[in-house]
């Protein structure tokens, strides 16, 4: 097949549950490519000599190489190829914003639709899982060094996997009773089945990584205590896990949730299975979800599945500025979520029992661009209106959790409270301590967190081999990155 023919093959759709059905269950929405479709889709890749897609991949997956293997039916080799650089392919294949990363740079996309890199990655990962055996990488001989990884989100899991492969002993400390970070407490089952996260965690444990769950660092042990107790280095990947509220009247009424609480109740604590599981969640009729990111989409779609009759997204900018993945906005729309754009809540109204019964909103218009480069929403005076709701989910973002910064005085923070670390090395201001993922970047993405994990593993390895590495001049730390 020549390039022209390849370009003619249309991008393949991924079969998925019908909206009418899926809005009533928590099963995964897309089914994934069947083998024949995956192989056909893989034919679309032009096998570029200088593959631009890879420039968009923070963990440097050799995209054309693995796609070629899928096209040839060597799926087992394909997953091994991916795993050379990506330890969570089944996760990335599902939740990465491919449309703005690898796929946005794919040359085929210049004329038509890009190669479905994400779906193919998912196919290869699922192939491996269905085969029931994991492609286990080779481990370097034990180095005798011990590294503490704080937080088991994508950043922590990645750095742990890479360090284990380099021969270092790794212990992951996780505050919650399940490993995975946002992947288990935040992102819902219908988008990322928890058994998939568990399988990826299990394969890390197979590499000899130790998991200490229920351990809140900063409380149980401080970073200094870990360093005193025999750890040669620490990676902090504690994520952005402190909900932000708008500080408007009525925000503490019953029925006004942070997205973190709502999603944690549903995902981690399985409130959707109440009373089989003991954790309750409010039964809603009319829900308002504040925000326009992935977290807002996940909250809205969860509320729908928990039985709400009507779910409204309330977002202060227009659809173009929504930070959520296009695919998820599309899924939400198909499921009947109502989008109230250019709208902002200004207060919540409660009844005598302190339960929320309505939200007062204000319409917005777009003004001049702000620091984020997007046009700033400006309230339209006199446009206020009241909408009756019985549940509100605030999904406007997360800040850094203060537990570790508060107990580690020599860890430099930025204005927002994020840990300052160089994006090129993940080195912090404290000797032997590295950091990456959302705790450094602010709420970002799974793949960026994993990218940091990779960078950190390389730096930690260099530092463990030669402690003088620390004092070598490195690029200036970049305290703040633009986000959302």
């Amino acid at each position: 097949m020549d390039a022209k023919e390849r370009m003619k093959i249309p991008r393949h759709k991924m079969p998925e549950q019908k909206p009418e059905e899926r809005r009533k269950n928590f099963n995964e929405v897309p089914f994934g490519y069947p083998e024949d479709i995956a192989m056909e889709e893989a034919q679309r890749c032009l096998q570029c000599k200088k593959p631009s897609c890879m420039k968009g991949c923070p963990v440097e997956v050799n995209i054309p190489a693995f796609i070629k293997l899928v096209a040839e039916g060597h799926h087992w080799e394909a997953i091994k190829k991916i795993k050379e650089t990506n330890s969570l392919p089944a996760v990335c294949g599902r939740v990465c914003p491919q449309e703005s990363q690898c796929e946005s740079m794919c040359i085929v996309g210049k004329k038509g639709e890009p190669v479905a890199v994400g779906r193919l990655e998912r196919f290869a990962a699922d192939f491996e899982r269905k085969a029931g055996k994991a492609a286990k990488p080779d481990l370097a001989p034990p180095s005798g060094k011990k590294v503490a990884v704080v937080g088991s989100g994508p950043a922590g899991l990645t750095v742990a996997g890479d360090l284990a492969r380099m021969g270092h002993k790794v212990i992951i400390f996780e505050a919650l009773h399940k490993a995975g970070g946002v992947l288990v407490y935040g992102i819902p089952e219908f988008r990322l089945p928890k058994e998939i996260v568990q399988a990826e965690v299990d394969s890390l444990v197979d590499l000899g990584i130790e998991l200490q769950l229920n351990e809140v660092i900063g409380k149980a042990d401080t970073l200094d205590e870990l360093l005193q107790n025999g750890f040669d280095a620490i990676f902090v990947g504690t994520g952005a896990g402190a909900p932000i509220f708008m500080n408007i009247p009525g925000e503490n009424l019953i029925g006004v949730y942070s997205a973190n609480e709502y999603l944690t109740r549903s995902n981690l604590m399985k409130a959707y299975l109440f009373p089989q599981y003991d954790t309750p969640i409010i039964k809603s009729n009319v829900v308002a979800v504040i925000g326009g990111g992935n977290v807002a989409m996940d909250s809205a779609r969860t509320a729908l599945r928990l039985g709400a009759k009507e779910v409204n997204i309330i977002y202060r900018r227009s659809k173009d500025e929504m930070p959520a993945r296009a695919e998820e906005v599309h899924h939400a729309e198909e499921e009947g979520i109502i989008f109230n754009l250019l709208t902002n809540p200004i207060r919540y109204i409660g009844d005598e029992k302190g339960k929320v019964i309505a939200v007062e909103c204000q319409k917005m218009e777009l003004g001049e661009p702000d620091q984020s480069g997007r046009r700033r929403p400006v309230p339209i005076v006199g446009s206020e209106y009241i909408k009756e709701v019985d549940t509100v989910i605030v999904a406007i973002g997360n800040g850094p959790n203060p537990l570790i910064p508060n107990t580690t005085p020599d860890l430099q923070l930025n204005r927002k409270g994020n840990i300052v670390a160089s994006l090129d090395t993940c080195k912090t201001s404290k000797r032997g301590v590295f950091a990456g993922g959302d705790i450094v970047r602010g709420a970002a993405t799974v793949i960026l967190a994993m990218g940091d994990g990779k960078v950190a593993a390389r730096s930690i390895d260099a530092y463990l081999k030669d402690p003088a590495w620390w004092d070598r001049p490195a690029p200036e730390p970049q305290p703040e990155k633009k986000k959302e």
Binding site: A175, L176, H177, Y185, L213, N214, E215, V216, K219, A220, D221, G241, A242, P243, F245, N247, E251, N252, I254, G255, Y257, S258, N260, E261, T264, R265, M269, K270, F274, P275, Q276, Y277, D278, T279, P280, I282, K353, G354, K355, N401, P402, L403
Partner: protein, 280 residues
């Protein structure tokens, strides 16, 4: 898994449990709490640590049976285990020598007031303690609290033991007789803390309460434990659990505690029903 080494019934529906948790036992300070999850389908529930033993590596919690989880706990025996125990969480009580302090404990709050009173005594304060309960048989820890107090006043609502009256009336007695109270620590049911706070505000006595909202993670991630203190929203699990009583919005706390009344009742009823079936 955390092995239960001791259980004890302190009063009707009030229990004590000693659980193995060596790291927490070594680290804990008065005023801190743990989160536990009894089994795979269980809720994450906070309990204040009322005592601990570094040598045996155990911590003690005291609880009242109010719903499914606590009923399940009450059914556990030494040798059984709790699946997850996380801690020590929250900020410890600020211990300082201020002079004369009054520690008030009501209901299960007695178990929390005890280590704080002990700590304040060790810090060199004169400790006057007040214990209150609805009726005689609901009172516990009297000897323990007495042993670390300069003076102990006991009262019951129905007068079946100690003086008849409320803890606020006992507090009034202390004030009236001229005790120069530099600090009041009140721990117990929300209405009790609210009334103590109201009273000490009139007398301008700094007062601390320990709050017990609904929690999920206990580490500042979910925001479920938020309360309003001095008009600002605080997360009890990381900013507390202790706060300036005169600044706390008790109405809000009371309302938020009632968030899941129906669901809790449903879950408890189901449990009781299944238990009966189980016993055949």
């Amino acid at each position: 898994m955390h092995k239960i080494v001791k259980t004890e019934s302190l009063a009707p529906s009030m229990f004590l449990m000693e659980v193995e948790a060596p790291k927490i036992a070594a680290k804990r300070k008065p005023g801190q709490f743990i989160m536990l999850r009894i089994d795979e389908t269980g809720e994450r529930v906070p309990f204040t640590i009322s005592d601990g033993n570094t040598e045996t590596g155990t911590i003690t919690i005291v609880y009242q049976v109010v719903g499914k989880t606590t009923a399940q706990m009450a059914a556990l025996k030494p040798g059984d285990s709790i699946l997850d125990v996380v801690g020590p969480l929250g900020k410890p009580t600020h211990m300082e020598k201020v002079g004369t302090v009054c520690c008030i404990g009501g209901g299960t709050g007695i178990a929390i007031a005890y280590p704080i009173a002990k700590g304040l005594r060790e810090a060199g304060n004169k400790v006057l303690s007040i214990l209150g309960a609805r009726t005689k048989e609901l009172l516990f820890y009297e000897d323990q609290v007495r042993s670390i107090s300069n003076e102990l006043l006991v009262c019951t609502d129905d007068g079946s033991y100690g003086q008849k009256g409320l803890v606020t009336e006992m507090l009034k007695q202390l004030i009236d007789r001229g005790e120069q109270l530099k600090l009041v620590v009140a721990i117990g049911p929300v209405p009790m803390m609210k009334f103590v706070a109201k009273m000490t505000k009139e007398y301008n006595i700094p007062t601390i309460v320990s709050l017990n909202p609904i929690m999920i993670d206990g580490s500042g991630m979910c925001g479920g434990c938020r309360v309003s203190v001095g008009g600002a929203t605080k997360f009890v699990c990381v900013d507390g659990p202790e706060f300036d009583a005169h600044q706390v919005d008790f109405e809000l706390l009371t309302k938020r505690l009632a968030s899941y009344r129906e669901e809790e009742a449903k879950s408890y009823d189901l449990y009781k029903h299944n238990c009966k079936l189980g016993r055949g």
